[in-house]
């Protein structure tokens, strides 16, 4: 079974602070995605990374895929209350089924 561990599990910060969320596995993934989920809704895709070492930026969010394609990170600069939500990484493995990480719940206070 392929497992994706995220850390931290919970993060509570003030507006304007920076943060990094990690997604780690012992398995190699063909691609890795990051989703954000708000209460009462399904997850929505933020980004997909497919190449080892790849870095993608989405406004204040920076995503990196590890060189060995086993891990990824999400860095948020100057967090805002609108960033509050559950952040989930998801990996597509050898069977192409999409496996989700353990999740990071982010709360940004004004």
């Amino acid at each position: 079974t392929q497992l994706l561990e995220q850390s931290p599990q919970f993060l509570s910060i003030q507006e304007g602070e920076n943060l990094t969320v990690y997604c780690n596995s012992s398995s190699v993934f063909s691609s890795l995605q990051w989703y954000r989920q708000e209460p009462g809704e399904g997850p929505v895709l933020l980004v997909t990374v497919v190449t080892g070492g790849e870095v993608k930026k989405l406004k204040r969010l920076t995503f990196q895929f590890g060189d060995a394609r086993k891990d990824s990170s999400l860095h948020i600069t100057a967090a805002q209350p609108g960033d509050t939500g559950l952040y989930l990484c998801a990996g597509a493995g050898y069977t192409d089924k999409l496996i989700f990480g353990t999740g990071t719940r982010l709360q940004v206070f004004p």
């Binding site: 995605q33 009462g40 399904g42 192409d96 089924k97």
Partner: protein, 113 residues
């Protein structure tokens, strides 16, 4: 906006009842998934399908069953609901190629009393 729909949004049902959670998508996606999620927690894959007449069990053991008779429809059935089945159930679909975006429905919150 994603064209994937789940019904009902909320369901409260007694122990022992049979229930079917509906999921339909209009995007022509071959892959469909069912995930189980407790509030604010990780998603556990319970069933997936690569197309018509294809169904596979996910990593989390589930007493539910699924069927895929039509591309757009992927219902999940519980023959005899129990309180341990109380959870949120999320349906998703994606194109067949790897690395493509999964689109999610809004989920069904099931409570078994």
């Amino acid at each position: 906006e994603a064209d994937i729909y789940q019904t009902p949004r909320y369901l409260v049902i007694g122990t022992g009842k049979k229930i079917t959670l509906e999921c339909s998508q209009t995007m022509g996606h071959d892959k469909m998934y069912w995930y189980q999620q407790d509030p604010g927690m990780e998603l556990h894959l319970i069933h997936y399908s690569y197309g018509v007449n294809s169904t596979e069990k996910g990593d989390l053991s589930s007493e539910s069953t699924v069927s895929r008779i039509r591309t757009e429809h992927f219902p999940l059935t519980l023959e005899s609901a129990r309180p341990s089945h109380t959870s949120q159930y999320l349906c998703a679909s994606s194109e067949l190629q790897a690395s493509t975006e999964a689109f999610f429905g809004q989920g069904t919150r099931l409570t078994v009393v």
